[in-house]
């Protein structure tokens, strides 16, 4: 008998632009809030949980297997295993697909999956020269030796730390920054600055409207900020209702000052946040009396040139669709992560291009046009933000909730992955 994997429910923290309201909250704490409240919301008997899988890219040094930390703090029993997965921008999609596989195979029945990231808390790191100075210092025995060693310290080296967030956003294989990969796509696909700014504006307009209408409310649980608890973050910090193309036009290109078109306004911001899903085998969920949100139909990850990583969705989607047995045209809603407006628009063009699909993907013809009304209906990463290790789950969660709200059936969540990959997952609303 074949087993189906369902998403029972999901919950996330608000996503907040790095350096704002969630900046002092440890990523383990963000994950804890989302997971604890998901457990409460679903009244889950935690004894039933087989495993907890959490995506994260920052690997905070004080919580190296952050998945375990999140699980225990959220009230998962000691006996239950938990681990952390890292597939860069798709870490929290990797957690979902790992959970899917474990349930599908019959190994497990109940898995909690998600992701958490605090990009505010990504550290500065001593450079090599300073690091080796510290190591030498530790080997000095006497006070005199230590004092003498002081003179070997290079102040310029000390004041020139490695910025881990910058390093993380630079492809180590080709040495190109993520922003620059988007510049490549903008140029190759002929995406103008105006088109990008228009897309970014739409992202903000849709997200702000979703906030206004409460469309996102059901997927968000508030974060209380210790130690003073004066602030309660209860909605995403990023969406701007009054965003206009004119305002965005004033920004200077960030990655290619002279010929570029990518600005901080049409790219996603560094973000803090966490998201969690409860996955179960379908019969198990039903026997426990749950009414699941959606069934997972299939998924895929695929690779491509790192310098064009933004096209990842185009590579992974057809494989995921094939595995799910779903046609591109039958998709009712699509969540395509907005790393950069240029990158999303390039994907759209590639999806619709016979030439691209034939040459690059080996398909007989184009997958099809992406209907803007089906795409990122509640805004996307440009407005909501992109906490790298949490986004994958957020996309699936937002998609499942949107399918439910709109009473639509089939949805695709897909995203590009730094390092030259794409990830895609197809889900099906079970209530239509």
């Amino acid at each position: 008998m074949s087993r189906n994997v369902v998403i029972v429910e999901g919950l996330r923290t608000p996503f907040a632009k790095a350096g704002t309201d969630l900046k002092d909250v440890h990523p383990a704490d963000l994950g804890e809030v989302a997971l604890r409240e998901l457990i409460a919301k679903t009244n889950l008997d935690t004894d039933l949980v087989d495993e907890v899988i959490v995506g994260n890219t920052g690997s905070p040094s004080d919580a190296v297997n952050i998945g375990r930390v999140v699980a225990l703090r959220a009230g998962i029993p000691l006996k239950t295993s938990a681990y952390t997965v890292h597939r860069n921008c798709a870490s929290a999609l990797e957690s979902v697909t790992s959970g899917f596989e474990k349930i599908k195979s019959g190994t497990m029945d109940v898995v909690l999956t998600g992701g958490t990231e605090s990009m505010s808390q990504l550290p500065l790191i001593y450079n090599k020269k300073t690091t080796s100075w510290f190591i030498q210092m530790m080997s000095k025995k006497t006070a005199m030796q230590k004092i003498m060693h002081l003179k070997n310290l290079s102040l310029p080296a000390l004041l020139n730390p490695k910025i881990s967030v910058m390093e993380g956003l630079t492809d180590p294989f080709v040495g190109i920054n993520m922003g620059k990969t988007a510049e490549i796509l903008a140029k190759e696909f002929g995406i103008s600055r105006l088109q990008q700014d228009e897309f970014a504006t739409m992202s903000h307009t849709r997200a702000a409207a979703a906030q206004e209408s409460g469309a996102l409310k059901d997927e968000i649980t508030p974060v209380f900020i210790p130690p003073k608890f004066k602030k309660v973050v209860h909605q995403d910090i990023g969406p701007r209702a009054g965003q206009t193309v004119e305002k965005l036009a004033k920004l200077r290109p960030y990655f290619d000052r002279k010929y570029g078109s990518i600005t901080v306004g049409n790219a996603c911001p560094l973000t803090d946040g966490a998201a969690m899903l409860l996955l179960m085998e379908e019969e198990k969920a039903k026997s426990l009396g749950y009414k699941p949100l959606a069934r997972i139909r299939g998924y895929a990850f695929a690779g491509l040139e790192p310098e064009r990583m933004g096209l990842g969705p185009v590579y992974s989607t057809p494989i995921a669709l094939k595995r799910a047995g779903v046609e591109f045209k039958d998709l009712d809603l699509i969540e395509l992560n907005e790393a950069f407006a240029a990158q999303v628009l390039a994907c759209n063009k590639a999806f619709a291009s016979d030439e691209f699909c034939q040459n690059k993907l080996g398909l007989s013809k184009a997958l099809g046009e992406v209907d803007p009304n089906k795409l990122n209906v509640n805004g996307g990463a440009i407005s909501l933000g992109h906490p790298v290790g949490a986004t994958g789950t957020r996309l699936v969660l937002t998609l499942a909730k949107a399918l439910k709200a709109q009473n639509k059936k089939l949805g695709l969540a897909t995203l590009c992955i730094g390092g030259g990959q794409g990830g895609a997952i197809v889900i099906e609303n079970m209530n239509v």
Binding site: E37, A40, K41, R73, T221, P222, F224, P227
Partner: protein
């Protein structure tokens, strides 16, 4: 009970192990028979071939819990105490004088007489186990260490450190004991036997011998303070601290201080004579008897279940709190602190944030004082989840309601909550003034509804009134009683009724304060009479501020309706009500309050607000105290004997001490009443009744008691 085999000498060849195991008892304690057996054992060892003797306990988590209090409870004559002490000294001295070195292997509680025994050994090794506590809690029972503790401890760890332990009745863990030099080594529990054996081998090999450990100060300031001159400073400083903390109401710490001072450096026999004299003097005081009775009341609660049937309390894992404010947050903190999973629910995120802050602040203080690690802090905080809806409620075993004091709203919320809870969940209301029985009408199954009245601030006040409504089941009562204990509180089961027990007794006293002000008392003098002369932790005016002037007046009016004409309210109450003064919560009351909420001084503008002429303090201290306290006793007689709010006088006394800070040295309200004499009280009340008003009319039951020459105990 045979105690002959409580101490057993086990032959190990070159050395002996003395095993302490008081058969048929949970703990090892030093009773007359045990001491007699110790004497036999000592004699036997004295003439033995052994080169070393090790003492250990066979009880888990207990080494020696102390002397048997049961035996001294009823002793009233100094001479009786004296003979007990003389015998104990001679036995401990003989033990100390054994020809071979002795080692105490301490794992578990080692208190009072137990501690005094180990310091008469030559060497001590303690475990680092949590259960290991070494100390001298005697002053807490109104006595002083009497088996040489005031003599050997200062010699061993210095005057400063020993006063720290003796005067506060403190105990220390293994780690601290090693640092103080109270033990030679603190070792992991599992290695105790091994380390003891190493020490025995050292002794047998002649590397260690008989000794009398004497304290040597290490650093310069301490060297001075432990010198002849420095000790004078230490003693006078300690005296000031004791006076400040005890307000002079407790003679034991002062007697202990005096004993340490006089006995320090004196010969053993002389020092022991000094200690015995001081002990006998304090041990026969009523204060000591009161404190011992209180100890028994507390021990009684530990064994009780809150119900007369043999119903077992339900196992509780998940606790909900409705209403997150300061009270709700405090309850959530308490529950999470004891590792319960907690859900808070309120109507706004801002309200939930207040609850989180309340909880977080309490733990943060502990972290600051290094009483809690930051990891444990985080762990405990993580146990508290919250939401605006009923997320997680189906899993809850108990829901504690701490929302606004409004019957209508409470009923609505309770009816709503029940729908989201499992069938056998118990809902408890933390109301302080509303009827539990009436509130239970909102619960479809009122047997699962009960009152659980915490006192503010929740983390500090030890009392919980467990209120049985008319339909409350034994199971619900027993469960909440048990939960209260598990939360570290002292529960007292009370029947439903206006103000339950504590507030019903307390309010008339606070109300009387307003009349006393009318009669010309000043706020400061009035409060001081009750704090400095009677021993209450706060005077009535200060307490009115603390409770909230609006709240107190509101509750008084409720009492007027339900208890009738004997509840009189001063006209000043309406003037306060008409003003913007709420007390401490808006920093406007009888006192001024600083940023931190500490009272600074009396707010003199209160007099003009109340239309009072300048106070002349014309009433005597005696009259103030009588008018306040006798009214309280009068109401207690009605609550206990007529309305049967509680069943025993002990419960009244325990509740008043734990819930209001009624001075423990007085043994409680009704012990105090017995001491004053019921007839005296009735006469005084009748006098005030004639002179002042109906509120002093002696209760029928009290008059009856006086007539029959009865007492509360």
């Amino acid at each position: 009970m045979s105690t002959v085999d409580c101490l057993e000498i086990i032959d190990k060849g070159d050395y002996a192990v003395v095993e302490f195991d008081l058969k048929g008892e949970k703990v090892n304690k030093l009773s007359f028979p045990v001491m007699k057996r110790l004497q036999e054992v000592t004699n036997e060892l004295k003439s033995s071939k052994y080169k070393a003797v090790v003492v250990k306990s066979k009880k888990k988590k207990i080494f020696i819990a102390g002397a048997d209090i049961e035996e001294i409870k009823s002793v009233t004559e100094e001479s009786q105490f004296r003979s007990v002490l003389e015998q104990a000294h001679s036995i401990f001295n003989a033990w100390e004088d054994l020809p071979m070195p002795t080692i105490a292997a301490i794992d578990g509680a080692c208190l009072g007489g137990g501690c005094e025994f180990v310091i008469s050994c030559d060497y001590r090794i303690a475990t680092l186990d949590k259960s290991t506590r070494i100390g001298l809690p005697e002053v807490k029972l109104g006595i002083i260490p009497g088996f040489g503790g005031c003599i050997r401890l200062p010699r061993m760890i210095g005057v400063m450190a020993s006063l720290d332990i003796i005067l506060a009745g403190k105990s220390v863990d293994g780690k601290k004991a090693a640092r103080l030099g109270l033990v030679d080594e603190a070792v992991p529990k599992e290695l105790l036997d091994q380390r003891v054996e190493l020490m025995v081998n050292d002794i047998i090999a002649g590397k260690k011998s008989k000794r009398q450990k004497t304290f040597k100060a290490k650093k310069l300031p301490n060297k001075f303070l432990e010198s002849f001159l420095g000790r004078g400073i230490v003693f006078s400083k300690a005296k000031k601290t004791v006076m400040k903390q005890s307000k002079g109401f407790y003679p034991a710490p002062l007697a202990a201080l005096d004993t340490v001072k006089k006995a320090f450096g004196a010969s053993r026999s002389k020092a022991q004579e000094i200690e015995m004299k001081a002990f006998c003097k304090v041990a026969v005081t009523p204060i000591s008897k009161h404190l011992i009775n209180l100890f028994y009341l507390m021990e009684g609660i530990k064994k009780q279940t809150g119900v007369s049937s043999d119903v077992k309390p339900l196992k509780i894992e998940h606790v909900g709190v409705l209403g997150a404010g300061v009270m709700g947050g405090g309850i959530a903190q308490l529950a999470a602190d004891k590792n319960y999973n907690v859900r808070m629910k309120d109507i706004s995120n801002e309200a939930l944030a207040i609850g989180y802050k309340q909880a977080s602040d309490i733990w943060a203080k502990k972290v600051k004082r290094r009483r809690l690690s930051k990891f444990d802090f985080k762990k405990k905080m993580s146990l508290i989840g919250s939401s605006l809806d009923y997320s997680g409620f189906p899993k809850l075993d108990v829901v504690i309601e701490a929302i606004v004091e409004d019957m209508k709203i409470k009923k609505m919320v309770i009816a709503d909550t029940v729908k989201h809870c499992k069938e056998d969940a118990i809902i408890a209301t933390n109301t302080s003034s509303l009827s539990v029985t009436e509130m239970a009408e909102a619960h479809p199954n009122p047997k699962n509804f009960v009152g659980m009245h915490f006192f503010n601030p929740v983390h500090k006040m030890p009392l919980v009134e467990v209120i049985r409504g008319e339909h409350t089941s034994d199971e619900a009562t027993a469960t909440i009683f048990d939960l209260s204990k598990r939360m570290g509180k002292t529960p007292v089961v009370v029947k439903d009724g206006p103000g339950f027990l504590v507030n019903r007794l307390l309010l008339p006293w606070m109300s009387e304060a307003l009349f006393l002000l009318e009669d010309g008392m000043s706020i400061k003098t009035l409060d001081r009479h009750f704090t400095h002369k009677f021993g209450m932790p706060m005077g009535p005016c200060r307490l009115l501020d603390e409770v909230g002037l609006d709240t107190a007046i509101k509750v008084l009016k409720i009492f007027q309706n339900s208890l009738g004409e004997r509840i009189q309210v001063s006209a000043l109450a309406d003037k306060i009500k008409a003003s913007d003064r709420l007390g401490k919560k808006n920093k406007k009351g009888f006192y001024n309050y600083n940023e931190k909420g500490h009272d600074t001084d009396v707010d003199d503008s209160m007099y003009s607000l109340l239309g009072l002429k300048s106070a002349n303090d014309s009433l005597t201290e005696e009259e103030c105290i009588e008018r306040g306290m006798y009214q309280m006793i009068n109401e207690a007689a009605r609550a206990l004997l007529e309305d049967k709010i509680v069943e025993t006088a002990g419960e009244v006394d325990l509740a008043m001490i734990m819930g209001t800070g009624f001075p423990p040295f007085r043994g409680g309200l009704l012990r105090y009443a017995d001491e004053v004499g019921i007839q005296n009280i009735v006469d005084k009340l009748e006098g005030y009744h004639q002179k002042i008003g109906i509120r002093f009319k002696p209760a029928d039951s009290l008059v009856e008691m006086a007539k029959n020459n009865k007492t509360f105990y």
